[in-house]
Amino acid sequence: MSDPSWLLDLFAAVMLAVSAYCAVRLVVVRRLHRTLHYGVNSAHVAMGLAMSGMLVPVLNAWPNPVWEALFAGFAVSFAFQSASFVARHGLTGLSRDHFHRVTHYLTHLVMSFAMLYMYLAAAPVPAHAAAMAMGPAPGTAAFVGLPLVFILVLCASAVWHVDALSRFTPAVVAAAVRAGAASRGGEVGAGPEARWLAPRLEMGCHIAMCAAMAFMLVLLL
């Protein structure tokens, strides 16, 4: 059993789960009076679905040109958000919620480009093939350095998010909420830490997505 097709199935299942979970987040966030990044969660939904379709072609929901257009749209959106973030907060500034830097948007910009690259570079496979035999398409050899850059960014982003997990432990969040209330003159109310919907699970989704995407890009090297 040297064929790692089970590995492709495993990653596809994880990506479907991530996609479904992020979709649920988008649906319930308002009902729970919480907040999240709509753009990022929408991108996670699309990327999870698209990657599961690439890994197991039978799960592919839409034709490739539709996906390509969608991720081109996400790339433009994240490029715009990165630029406006820099304009508002500078290169080293923090967002209004004190969580995110410009790297948050840049990482998702890179992920959108990586998705585009995968659609453009992967060799086409029959629609109903059992599992995707990923490999670079002819003519993409000249850009083979590009996925390595994507992979390095994804690895760095994954470990950076693992590091930030401990920022959202209940105790740390409680301390931050109290500190926030004190700075607002004792006014009791949920600070940005407490309003964020399940931040550790969102980070977990991002980490899983980075691992899956890096794996798929490695297959294209």
Binding site: L152, A156, L201
Partner: protein, 320 residues
């Protein structure tokens, strides 16, 4: 417990609870080390690593030239991995992901660094044949003294400790400036030694020419040009590179400003070795298991970068 409910039911902070701080220099270096382990795990997921050829073709040849006991152990292990290729490789992937996550997760960073040292030493023995040190095949271009050994060195140097907050550089926090300096001199001095006196069969021209196979066209062309460039200049190149490594080795004894210049040169050398000599760890060939020693040499130089201390003029003085 649901994340949302965890946020809604705050736990009273204890006296030992510390607020979350953004990563400082040492933490950033730890995260860089974790990112490299993460990359290793992802590379280990390549189809070739799950095949029966991985053990005998990748690990087996590292036994060549080593003393009997070392060679036999490598051969036995590589054969065993070949027989249980899928299970063995899945375990390797899990271990490397585990190390990456443990280092990156603050509460488990110490466990991660300990695992990093243990796994590095195992891989150095069974996966890299002790980096060719005993076989006489070591070369700076092939990742001497064994890329994975540098993971272990960095794991020790980046150990989280409250000792020596005024250390002259991050690498000296745990072991102190004298030991940190000895390690730096040992690594670069040894590289200088094999540049001066290395085996003639490990001529850079031969090594570079041998890298072409399986690489993308642009990288193969770079290898070819580099091989042509050094082909007829073997002895001269050995002296120049050896002297450069000696200068880098003594960087830790220099005043702060020149030390920074030489450490910057060390980073450039690390990158040059990675690109031209190691072909990015041969990751484009489908059989690269790690990015090799280039990025680690850069990381090491960052860990030795003299920190700005008020009134300190020398790397050495700041330690006092």
């Amino acid at each position: 417990m649901n994340e949302a409910s965890a946020v809604e039911s705050p736990v009273a902070p204890t006296a030992t609870e510390a607020p979350w701080d953004p990563p400082d220099r040492r933490r950033t270096l730890q995260l860089a080390l974790a990112a490299l382990w993460f990359l290793d795990a992802v590379l280990q997921l390549q189809p070739f690593m799950f095949s029966r050829s991985f053990g005998p073709l990748m690990l087996g040849p590292t036994a060549r030239g080593n003393p009997g006991i070392v060679a036999h152990s490598i051969t036995d292990v590589s054969r065993s991995i070949g027989q249980h290729s899928v299970g063995a490789n899945a375990a390797f992937v899990l271990v490397q992901f585990l190390i990456a996550f443990a280092i990156a997760h603050r509460p488990t960073v110490r466990l991660g660094l300990v695992l990093s040292v243990a796994w590095s030493l195992l891989v150095w023995w069974f996966g890299e044949g002790l980096g060719g040190v005993l076989a006489g095949t070591a070369s700076p271009l092939t990742g001497a003294p064994g890329a994975v050994l540098l993971y272990a060195v960095l794991a020790v140097l980046l150990w989280p400790t409250a000792r020596r907050p005024a250390a002259p550089c991050t690498a000296a926090r745990l072991v102190g400036p004298p030991v940190a300096k000895v390690l730096w001199v040992a690594i670069w001095g040894w590289l200088a030694g094999i540049a001066f006196f290395g085996s003639p069969t490990r001529h850079p021209g031969t090594l570079l020419a041998g890298l072409e196979a399986g690489e993308p066209r642009w990288l193969a062309a770079l290898n070819r040009h580099a091989a042509d460039l050094v082909a007829s200049r073997g002895p001269l190149l050995a002296v120049v590179v050896g002297l450069l490594f000696v200068v880098i080795a003594v960087a830790v004894f220099l005043p702060t400003r020149p030390a920074r210049v030489v450490l910057a040169v060390a980073m450039v050398v690390g990158l040059a070795i990675w690109v031209v000599g190691e072909d990015f760890g041969t990751v484009f060939s489908g059989s690269g298991t790690d990015p090799n020693s280039g990025p680690l040499l850069v990381l090491l130089a960052v860990a030795y970068w003299p920190l700005r201390r008020a009134g300190s003029r020398r790397w050495v003085e700041a330690a006092a």
